[in-house]
Each structure stands twice: as structure tokens, then as C-alpha cells.
Symmetry: C2
């Protein structure tokens, strides 16, 4: 639908980055005498993990055609739609504003539907109610043991001791440090730590000899 | 379609394992006076990587209803359909036998279509024209270097020296040891060796000290 008005596939991508987002284009001229409702107008609503963790309010400004009081002329008006994002909402959650599309003399305005999408996060990915963090550790520490520091979405720094030998598929789970459950935000999923083990790029013959003694004898 | 006659989802699964496969059930009584052709009857044809590497001939016995000479009675007859599998065929390749479905007084018999599927192989997986082999090696050898032995689908044993340090995402490519190209079976894809590095389950303090000297100092 948007494509019809603007010719681009995602003309609003830039408008979702801050609170008080500005958005235009729920407009367009119709009026061919249809009486049934237009199909819903769906838009992606990209939210950061922090926004989904804490919950937030997003204000979306739309520009729509409304009928004037005379009943047969119309004009373009701005309107603010307010979305109350609850902690724990998942990608795919739909928020519907009924009949907020363009008004015309003979149509029922379309519903406007926002669909929650995950904005990519620099540190975490989400898996259901869990958060996944990838810790880079050097091979030596993966064998000897270490402590790693893991930031949280609410600004704390977790110190996680790792005493097991860390192999490439090893994961460590920290209960209750994941995303809040939307049904009860006091309960949270898990933080799952995966490990990206950094191997040395080269080894001297002397160091290879030490490795041989440690691992192959 | 098969489900209608047998009630199971894959009644022929067992019949595909050997050459000269036996297959029944392209049968069933129709005859409600339809004149157009019935929809194609599609069956999976599971083939091993060896069969797709060398090519092979598969004989499928079907049991179908054919019209008698009198033109209004019919009987069930067995028939052998022969599939010439060419080296390099890929999953998804379709082999159509036109109008080999049930005959009826008023219908055009359905086409019978076999769709090539990959049978799981114990050692290799296929990726386009490449073969992927996962080599298990102990961590020590991944750091010091080693030779690994890799079997081929045509019964040879490749000896592959690995001198680089092998990290979890390291791969080694051997050109020309993959699957034949169906357009020209004299040309073959690559063999891609991935590595599953076996970490020790525990280390003594003495060995940890050697690791520390080799990797962390």
C-alpha cells in the first residue's frame, strides 16, 4: 500500500529510530465508490532489546485524509498514534489502530497495524525469552578457566566465573537474566552465554612442544 | 493420493532401499465420469550419495488399473517403471512417467512423478556439487598439525596433511573430490573438510601450567 504512494519499499525506515517518531503517508486519494473496508495497512515497528526489556511508549505521527464537515470534500490531517510497548513483547506482536486509514465518501477506512520487529543489538540476540551473549575468550583461558564480564540490558555488569573446560559447543546459562515475560514481567528468562574461542594464529616449535606434553601425552 | 488407498503417510518407504524396488498402490477405483487428467501422483525417490555419484538404474514396480479390451471393464496389472539416474542429479530432480496412473473409462490417467531426495549418508553431506566431511581431531593435533584420512564415495582413502592451526571455523577444500556435475560428470565439485575439535574433559594442574606457558605467556 505504501509503495503505491511513494514508490520505495520502505520509505519510513528512518522514522522509527527515536521516540516521537514522525511518519507520513497513510494518505492517498481513493473514492471509487467502494463501501467495504480497505485491507489493513501494515507497518514494521522496529524496537531495540532495551525498549522491549523495559517497555516504552512510541508516538507515531501519521498523515491521513479525513472528510470535511460538508461530507464530500476532504483534507490531509496529521495525527499521533501512541503505542504502549509492554516489557517482554516479542517480534510479531501486532498493534491495531482500527479505521485510522484514509477516509473517503464511500469507504470504511483501513485499520493501521504495527508489527513488532527486533532491531539488531550489538551484544545480544533474543531466543524466545532468553538472551544469547557470545563471549570471546582466548583458547588458553578456555582450558585453564577464567572469569568473564557480561553487561546486562539494564546497565549492570555480571562477573561470571567459568571453571569448566570450554569447548566450542559449551554454553553457560544464567537464570533470570533474560527478557521479561510479557504475562508477568517480574519473571525473566535466562541469559545464555556461548563462547567464541580464539585460537592462536601461529605457535613456535617450543610452544608446540608444551602443547604436546599437555594434550597429547 | 497414496494416503487415500493405504491410510499411512509413506507406505512405500521400505521399498526404495534396494535395486529392483517393489511398489504397489498406484491403484484405486475411480470412474465418476471425469474426462480431464487426474493430478500428477508424486513420490519421493530416496537415493544414496553413492547412487547419485555413480548413477544407477532403479526399477519401480507399480500396480495400476488398466482397461480391458472390452472398453468398460478393468483389471489390476503390475508394471515396471525404469529410472535411469544420472551421476550428479540433485535432490528435487523430477522424473515423469506420463499417464501411468489408473486407467478408467472416462479419464486420462495421471502422470507418475518421482522426485529425487537425498538419503542421509553416514560420512558426507552434500552442498550443491560439494561434499562436506566432518573430521574429528583432538585439540592437541589441531594446534600441532596432523594428517587425516578421508574416504571417498568411490572407495579410495585420501591422506590429507593439515599444517595450519585448526580453529573451530577452519575448513580445508580439496578440489575435484566432490559430486560429479550432471551436465558433465567428468568435472566434479569440491570436498570440504570441516573440523570437530575434541577438547579434553579435564586437565591436571601440571598440564594447565604447560598450557599457560604455551598459550598465555
Amino acid at each position: 500500500v505504501f509503495r503505491d504512494f511513494f514508490g520505495g519499499s520502505n520509505p519510513f525506515a528512518d522514522f522509527f529510530d527515536t521516540n516521537g517518531d514522525f511518519m507520513t503517508g497513510f494518505g492517498g486519494i481513493r473514492g471509487r465508490g467502494r463501501k467495504k473496508q480497505d485491507p489493513p495497512i501494515e507497518r514494521d515497528l522496529y524496537l531495540s532489546l532495551e525498549e522491549l526489556f523495559h517497555g516504552c511508549t512510541k508516538k507515531m505521527k501519521i498523515s491521513r485524509r479525513v472528510m470535511n464537515d460538508d461530507g464530500h470534500t476532504s483534507s490531509i490531517r496529521d495525527k499521533i498514534l501512541t503505542i504502549h510497548v509492554k516489557p517482554g513483547w516479542k517480534a510479531g506482536t501486532k498493534v491495531t489502530f482500527p479505521q485510522e486509514g484514509d477516509q473517503g465518501p464511500n469507504n470504511t477506512p483501513a485499520d493501521i497495524v504495527f508489527i513488532v520487529r527486533d532491531k539488531q543489538h550489538p551484544l545480544f540476540s533474543r531466543s524466545g525469552n532468553n538472551l544469547v551473549f557470545i563471549a570471546k575468550i582466548p583458547l588458553g583461558k578456555s582450558l585453564i578457566g577464567c572469569s568473564i564480564e557480561v553487561p546486562t540490558l539494564d546497565g549492570r555488569l555480571l562477573n561470571v566465573p567459568v571453571n569448566d573446560i570450554v569447548h566450542p559447543k559449551y554454553t553457560k546459562k544464567i537464570p533470570g537474566e533474560g527478557m521479561p515475560l510479557s504475562k508477568d514481567p517480574t519473571i525473566k528468562g535466562d541469559l545464555v552465554i556461548e563462547f567464541d574461542i580464539q585460537f592462536p594464529e601461529q605457535l613456535t616449535p617450543e610452544k608446540k612442544q608444551l602443547i604436546r606434553q599437555a594434550l597429547l601425552i
